[in-house]
Amino acid sequence: MIRFSQVSLTYPHATRPTLDSVDLSIDEGELCLVVGQTGVGKSTLLGAINGLVPHFTGGTLSGRVTVNGRDTSTHPPRELADLIGVVGQDPLAGFVTDTVEEELAYAMEQLAIAPAVMRKRVEETLDLLGIADLRNRPIRSLSGGQQQRVAIGSVLTAHPRVLVLDEPTSALDPTASEEVLAAITRLVHDLGVTVVIAEHRLERVLQYADRVISVQSDGRVVSGPPGQILATSSVAPPVVRLGRLAGWSPLPLSVRDARRVAADLRIELKKISAGPAPVASPTSASSPTSASSPTVLASTALVASKLTVRYEEVVAVARVDVELLSGEIVALMGRNGSGKSSLLWALQGAGARDGGSVTVQGKDPSTLPPSQARGLVGLVPQTPTDLLYLATVQAECTQADLDAEQPAGTCAQILQRIVAGIDPLTHPRDLSEGQKLALVLAIQLCASPSVVLLDEPTRGLDYTAKEHLTQLLQELAARGHAIVVSTHDVEFVASTADRVMVIAAGEIVADGPTAEVVVASPAFAPQVAKILSPEPWLTVEDVASALRSAP
C-alpha cells in the first residue's frame, strides 16, 4: 500500500538528512506505530506519505514514495486526498469550517461526493466516533478531546484507504483516547484501512500495532514486529520494561499478555513486601521526596477555600477546597474540560475567580500586582511558548532576571541546572518541546515562587524528557516548593506524584496518596499497577528496587 524506496530527505540549511535511505513497505490493513525520540523525524516520515513533505515544507527528497501506485512526486497532497486522510497534532489549527457537521462534510465536498452519500457518511461518522450530540456545536466551543475526535471524523468521511495520525491522543484524557483508539482499530479490522500512527505514549497504542517503525536519531528507519523492535528500542512503555526486567519471553505488549505471565512475579513481590525490609514497601519507593524530607512536609504552602470560577452559565470550578504542603507533588487529573486549567489559573491569581479565597504566605496572589503574585505562585501554562517573545534564549533569560529583580545570570543558571547545553543564541521557537518547557520553567522559577503549577507539561514529551521532568520536579519538591501538575499521563503521575486530585465537572471527586487514587480506578491505573494488582506497585522502578533489595 505504502512504499518508500531509498527515500532520503534533507531540509534546507540542515547539515544531515532527516531521513536517510529509508526502505519501507506497509501492506494494506496494517496498523503501524512510528516510534522515536522527539525531533528525530517522525512527523517528517508521516508527512512524506501524502506528500506534504516536501511539497509543503520544502526540502529535498530523493527516492520514491508511492501510495497505492501513486507517486507523491507527481501527485500533490490534494490529489491524494481521496486515498490518504491526515490528522495533525493540533486539531484546532486544521479546521476550515465552524460547525461539527460542516467540518465532517468538508473533505467530501472537495472530492465532489454525491449529496446523498455525504449525508449518510456524516451520520455514520458521527456515530462511529460518538459525537452525534455535538453535530450543531461550533467547533471552537468543544473540549480538546471532542475536537480531536471531530478532526479524525473529518478525514474518515472521505473513506481514505490510508490514515495518517500524528499523536492523535496527546491532548486526550485516558478514557477519550481509549475511545479514539478503539475507533481506529475498528477501522483497521472492519474496513482494512491502513493506519500509520505516531505516538509518544506507547502504552496506549502498542497493543494494537501490527508493526513498529522505529525512526533512529541518525535518520535511519528500522521496522518489524512490535516484540522484536521493542526488545531493543530506546523508548519503551512500562509493560515492556517490566517484561525486560522480569526476563519474560516473548516480550508482552499488552496488560493482558503481561498479567498472564506475571503470576510468579506477583508472588515474589508479595513475599518481599510482607518481609521485614521497610525500604521495599511500595509507597515509600514511589514517593522518594516524602521519604527523604519528611520535615518539609509539615508546613502548608497554599490554602484555597471555596474557590469558584464560572464562565457565564458554565461553572468551571465549583467551591473547591485545596491545601498544598511544601515539598509535595500533586497531580491534578480529570477528563478534558473538567476545570483543571481554570483551577490552576485561579490558584495563580491571573485567571478569573468568582468566589472563594487563596492564601499563600498569608497573602492572596490575586490582590497583588502580577509581578508580586508570581513570587508566590508560578504557573507554566499549557502553551508555554506564550510566555516567550524575544529573539534568543539569552535575551529571554536576561529579561526574566530584570522582571524578577534577581541578579543577572540567575535565570541562565537555573536553566543550566534544568537542561544543560542549550545554545544561548538559539531562537526559543527552534527549541524542542522539552527545552521550551524547561526555559519557561526557568523563567518562572526565577521569581522563586513557593508554589509551582504546571498545566499539562507532558504533552509532546518523550519518555526520556518525561523522566527528566520527574527528576526535576522531585528536586524542586525537595527544596520545599509545592508543585501541582495537571496531566492525563497516568504513567507520569505514577512515577512523579505524591498525591493525586481528580476533578470532575469542577468538583474534586478524589484526593489522596497516588497509590490509593490511581490503583482504585481502572481508567487512571498505570500499566504496572494493572499487571501486578492486587499488589500496590506503580512503576517499574519501584519493582526493580524492590527486587534488588530482596535477598
Binding site: L52, R78, G94, Q110, Q444
Partner: protein, 374 residues
Amino acid sequence: MQLAPDRPGFVAQPSAKSRRLPRDLHPGAWWIWALGMATAASRTTNPLLLLVILAVVAFVVSARRTQAPWAKGFTAYLWFGLLIICSRLAFRLLLDGQYGEHVLFRLPELGLPSLAAGVRIGGAVSLEGLLAAFYDGLRLATLLICLGAANVLANPKRLLKSVPGALHEVGVALTVALTLAPQLVESAQRIRKARKLRGELGRRTRFFSEILVPVMTDALDRSLFLAAAMDSRGYGRTAHVPVKTRRVTGTLVIAGLIGVCIGIYGLLDGSSPWTLGVPMLAVGLVFAGIGFILGGQRVQRSRYRPDLWILNEWAVALSGCAVATVVFVVAVTNPSSLNPSLQPLSWPSLPLLPTLAILIGILPAWVSPPPVRT
C-alpha cells in the same frame, strides 16, 4: 363526528407558530430583504420614514435571530449608527453651521487665510444646518443597520458557501479570513494573560514586541498549518479546462461584476443617470452569470446540505424587493414626500404609500421559519 371545544378529550390545535418547522432561512433571502430595506432607506431623508424602517428591521431581527455567535452583534450596529449621526452633527457644528436663517447660537469663528476661502470653522449654527446633518446621518445609519441586520440574521459564512463554483476559491479565502479575526483576538487575549504570568503587566507593556509579534507569529503558524490541512483534504482539486476557456471565463466574470457594481451604485445614488441603474445591473448580471456557469465547470465539488430556497425564501426576498420598488417609484414620481423641505423649514410628514410599503418589510418576522434553537 365533530368534537366540541368544551367536551373532554378535545385536543387543542397547536398554535401556528409551534407547528412550523424551525430551520435556518437561506442567507441569500435575508440579504435580499436587507438590501431592499437599505435601498428604501437610501432614497429618503424623511426621519419619520427612516425611523419606521429602523423599527421594522429591529422587529424582524428580534423575532428571528438565533443564538449563534454572529447573531449577537445587533446592538453594536445600533451604537455604530448613533456614532455616525453624532459625528455628522459634530462636523456640521464645526465646519458649516450656517445653512439657513434660524440661527440657534454662535460658536467662536476661526480666521482662516484667504487660501482656504469658502471653508469656515465655527461661527453661526442654524437649525436648518443641524437638521440637514441629522437627516443625512440618520439615513447613513439606517443603511448601515439594515446591512448589520443581514449579518446578524444570516451566518456570513453560509452565504459564502452558496457562492457559485467559479468564485469558490475567493469564497474560501474570505471564510478563512473571517475565522482568522476572532482567532487573532483570542490569541491576543491568551498572550496578554500569559504576560501577566511573567509579571510584566505592572510595567509599561511594549505592545509591538510583546503582544503583536507573538500574535502574528501565532497567526502565521496557524495559516501555514491550515493551508497544509486544507491541501491534504483535497482543497484546490481542479478539473482540466483549456486555457482559452479560462481566459474567456475570467473576462466575463470580471466585466460582469464591474457592471453589477456600477448598476448597484446607479440604483442607490438618486442623482446618477437612469441608464446606470437597472439596465447596467441587468447587463452585468448576465455577463457574470455566463462567466460563473462556464467557470463552475472547472471546480469539481459538491455541496453538503445546501440551503433550501423554497416558498419562505421567496416571500422574504420579495418583501424586501417590494419595499425597494415602491419607495423607488415614489422617489421618481413624488420626491418631495420623501425629502422634507428644510428651506423653508417644515415638519416632516409621514406619507401614506411609502409607509405602507415599508411595513411590508415586517412580513419576514412571520413568513420566515423560526430559527433552530440549540
